[in-house]
Amino acid sequence: MTDRHVLEAGSQPPLLYPPYKSTVKRAPAQPLIIVPGRLTALTTPVYGYLPIGDTDNDLTRQHIGEPQGERIIVAGRVLDEDGRPVPHTLVELWQCNAAGRYRHGRDNHPAPIDPNFSGAGRTMTDADGRYRFVTIKPGAYPWGNHDNAWRPAHIHFSLFGRSLATRLVTQMYFPSDPLCAYDPMFQSVRDPRAQQRLVSRFELSLTEPNWALGYAFDIVLRGRESTPFEGRV
């Protein structure tokens, strides 16, 4: 990477990041117009009616049979920048299957589709901001960005939080994945602490004996003082 690229301070990637080729024709060229917070305060949950089904947080139980692959538990907390939990907020995730294939018409990676795996889940955080999913560890897969490009295994997450400013779509990676070093999406985040925020942690206390490995993944939404909680947690 050279300093030709505009690297933005803090935790967020730049809009234009040429190593990720699709940014070149899609990143706006003009600077964003900065809006004072008081003008954008949306204090209600900013999603509509999105019902949650019984198996929406368990991607291994959404079909008649069990999906192929390594069963895992992904759990953590949704927090604001002051470390306060964000309770009762929607968490959505989606991913490819264990072989690295999405159940999607435009995914032409020649890896098998798993008839027992759709790859989508959703849940609400509890009163302490906690969430938990059971799923299958996703596979790595190739993509066309550059020669011999492979996405590290990852799970997409989408969260709303409490205001327009807290809307977040991100990706969770797995510990010690050698592909992260070569991945322009991961590398678009320059701050090493911010990179580590996107990497889940193996967690024995989440691991269920004779069943599934546990990975902890906490998500920190932008903003402070977003809710008038008593005291810190």
Binding site: S11, R106, V169, M185
Partner: protein
């Protein structure tokens, strides 16, 4: 101050989770089962409109893999209240989410929103997600011909020459408003840092 007269150290804020692109395969995920183009059910008070949002890239080519989310107030300028899991679906959710088609467009069914305050023009807030966007974009749809455009506090932050990029225009049937998002170019849409 503590007992020794030193300013108490505020704990370091946590570093926020970084945005990452929604990628090309989100269709299997967010709202897959209930992707909602109907923001206001039939019978909700207000002037019924359709809002067609089309997204064009730096070459002017349609973006056929964008996710468009919108939210807006009701006809009286009131934003919908919270919805608890298990509540029946509200007639007016104030929230819509659709993927664009091959023509780069998607079309929402809703009502024309009202203004929420005297220093604001009625508008629809739009979030855009797509492959190639490491962070999502936020913009606003205003309505052509609205006399309140001149007093809208956020529009006033935008250089005058670029304000037209935020204004939807009615098409032939009068009930369909068209809003074109140009990601780059001399008519690049204004996007906001919120």
């Amino acid at each position: 101050m503590n007992a020794s007269g030193q300013k108490r150290q505020e704990p370091e804020p946590l570093i926020a989770s970084s945005s990452q692109t929604i990628g090309p395969f989100f269709h299997v995920g967010p709202g897959a089962g209930d992707r909602c183009g109907v923001v206001a059910a039939p019978g909700v008070p207000g002037e019924r409109i359709r809002l067609r949002v089309q997204v064009l890239d730096g070459d002017g080519a349609p973006v056929n893999d964008a996710l468009v989310e919108l939210q807006h107030a009701d006809a009286n300028g009131v934003r919908p209240g919270p919805v608890e899991p298990g509540d029946p679906p509200p007639a007016f959710s104030g929230f819509g989410r659709l993927a664009t088609s091959e023509d780069g467009a998607c079309c929402f069914e809703t009502i024309r929103p009202g203004a929420s305050s005297p220093d604001e023009a009625a508008h629809i807030t739009v979030c855009l997600f797509m492959r190639g966007l490491l962070r999502h974009l936020v913009t606003r749809v205003y309505f052509d011909g609205d006399p309140a455009l001149d007093r809208d506090a956020i529009l006033a932050l935008v250089p005058a020459a670029r304000r037209a990029t935020l204004v939807a225009r009615p098409t032939g049937d009068g009930a369909t408003w068209e809003f074109v998002v140009r990601l780059q170019g001399d008519r690049e849409t204004v996007f906001f840092d919120v």
